[in-house]
């Protein structure tokens, strides 16, 4: 039997299982990585680079399908094509009227953007794909610019390593109660942008300045940004809402705790909160609490517990036997209940690396995601640290306080946005 008749297919990993059931028009579960080059993008070369890159990541040639009990990924003959950016950022990929691959590659002026449906992979996996794409593109664009032999890509995992479901590999049946409860957190309620659009505000900062600012306070970059974010949200709260804690959910890359080269999802989340009704609202006080939270939560043991708790639900036999339409309803309700414990989200991807010689051709990398709530993502490349806010709200109150605070701390912030020049969003 040939491949056309029985195509390869993959079960969804633990984290991916919830995305198809809980996605919606305003929470598309799509995230975007962008790479800004020094020169305008050549679409033909980008298409050639994409063809080469997809061959290395066969799971990217898959579509989402509904089973009777779970969704799954199935290999598809649909071609991966680059498109000039025309849709709003993080436009829904699944479900859609037309069956499509679960990612799209876009170009706009000097930017190459990769938008990925979260069920396919997480930030680390998508970043590896984008780096491979940019690598192939630059090899085609500037064939004489690199020394021979051509520098290899840092990410060189085998196909089986890329396709591995690391949740399954490291799952151990937990002994105690699987999930903890979170208090109800403050919810940002503001007028939303029309048609589920996302306002992007991207702040570019010199990495050295941000690092110096964090080191001067004895904290990490993520801790500093989380504390500033918490205070920014607090600054936009109504007085009557201030009795509720502000909680930021932070994805943690489990590859840092469990050896894995998987190009699929392999992350857990931790919640970092601050109750401004009982604590001081100074940056130092918030930083102290955030640092303590990070130290308490970011241990191998805690991460193992968290991962096992998440996987335990998937391994429950009664739950597995529930038909998919019913699972959709249950997961949607569970997701709404869990969302009540979270105010916003912050994801720090960390440092992006490209082979030597290619760094000079790239200006920056940036990342943001659509999660149905205010979402901030950060990454650094070369000497540039980029924090991007993706907001469904018409008013940029939190972002204003956040970036003003960074400027007040002595950091040179350069903003760029997708809001129209006259700020008229109808």
């Amino acid at each position: 039997m040939n491949n056309r008749n029985i195509p390869p297919w993959w079960t969804l990993d633990n984290a991916a299982k919830i995305f198809p059931s809980t996605g919606s028009a305003h929470d598309s579960k799509v995230f975007r990585f962008a790479c800004e080059l020094r020169e305008p993008v050549d679409p033909q070369l980008l298409q050639s680079a994409l063809d080469k890159t997809v061959d290395r990541f066969p799971m990217y040639r898959s579509v989402m399908k509904r089973g009777w009990f779970w969704y799954y990924l199935e290999d598809s003959p649909l071609p991966a094509q680059v498109h000039r950016e025309e849709l709003p950022p993080c436009y829904p990929i699944y479900p859609s009227v037309r069956r499509s691959l679960l990612f799209r590659v876009l170009y706009y002026r000097r930017r190459i953007s990769l938008e990925v449906y979260h069920a396919l992979t997480d930030g680390t996996g998508a970043l590896n794909f984008l780096c491979a794409l940019v690598y192939e593109y630059l090899l085609l664009r500037c064939p004489d610019a690199f020394s021979q032999p051509v520098p290899p890509l840092p990410y060189d995992a085998s196909q089986s390593q890329r396709q591995a479901d690391s949740f399954q590999k490291y799952y151990e049946k937990p002994a105690g109660r699987p999930m903890g409860r979170f208090p109800v957190a403050y919810q940002i309620r503001r007028e939303r942008l029309p048609r589920n659009h996302l306002a992007i505000l991207e702040g570019q900062m010199p990495l050295e300045q941000v690092l110096a600012c964090a080191r001067a306070r004895g904290v990490t970059l993520t801790e500093l940004m989380t504390a500033v974010f918490l205070r920014a949200i607090h600054g936009g709260m109504r007085v009557r809402d201030r009795k509720k804690p502000v909680v930021i959910t932070i994805p943690v890359n489990l590859r840092s705790y469990f050896p894995s080269e998987s190009a699929r999802n392999f992350f857990a989340t931790i919640n970092v909160g601050y109750d401004f009704s009982t604590g001081e609202d100074s940056l130092e006080a918030v930083l102290k609490e955030v640092k303590r939270s990070f130290q308490d939560n970011l241990t191998a043991e805690k991460m193992r517990e968290r991962m096992n708790a998440l996987c335990a639900l998937e391994h429950s036999v009664p739950l597995r036997l529930v038909p998919l339409p019913l699972k959709d309803i249950v997961l949607r309700i569970a997701n709404k209940v869990a969302a009540r414990g979270v105010t916003a989200s912050f994801s720090n991807i960390g440092k992006v690396s490209m082979p030597k010689g290619m760094e000079e051709l790239i200006h920056l990398f940036s990342v943001f995601a659509c999660a149905g709530m205010l979402q901030a993502c950060a990454c650094s490349f070369g000497g540039v640290y980029v924090v991007s806010f993706a907001s469904p709200f018409r008013v940029c109150e939190t972002e204003r306080i956040f970036f003003r605070e960074l400027a007040r701390l002595g950091i040179r912030v350069a903003l760029t946005t997708n809001l129209p020049p006259e700020m008229e969003v109808h």
């Binding site: 399908k65 505000l201 970036f403 003003r404 700020m423």
Partner: protein
Amino acid sequence: MLYCEKCGVYLSGSMNRCPLCQEKVAGQPEEDAYLPLPGTARPYGLTVRLAALLTVAALTVCAAVNYCFPEGGWWFLFVAAGLASVWLLTGIAFWKRRNPMKAIAWLLAAVPALVLAWDWRTGFIGWSINFVLPCFIPCMQLAAAGAARVLRLRPADYLFCLGICILAGFLPLIPLFCGALWMIYPSVVCAGISAISLSALLLFRGSALKAEIIRRGHL
């Protein structure tokens, strides 16, 4: 590069005002890194709204006429049910317009349900189970097989839908064996066609069908 004195931040792009505080900014505009948010209208929005307005208008006129001349009974309810049926079937066809196999599967569920409901509400003469369903189901089988052939679909993309259409072809046997039919030939022909189709499916696409069932049924 632009600069907002109020916020103390630089701005890269062609904006006239600071996106944070909406104050006017000073400096040299640059190329925008992002595509500005579009402001286009939704496609089909106007058509759907016009169709909805026409439906409401037709229904209102019928209700008014029926209220003024009630001698023939509340016939405007049938008009309402008819319009609802048209909306349902058109909606399914439009919703699944990019995936004909899914459209066929949904229509296979919706049309028999509507036909049975209409037959039941109009005195249950039995025209639905005697004629319409035994004729409609083989048509859907043919449509599924034709769409798979014309669109050159892979077995994985049509087997499930085709399998459902074929299995649905055995449903007319229920009223047949219960003795509820006064015209048995369409139902017998329908079941016969389905039996031959099922045999062909198992003989020629048995492995692919088994793989499809394993994929869809994985736990």
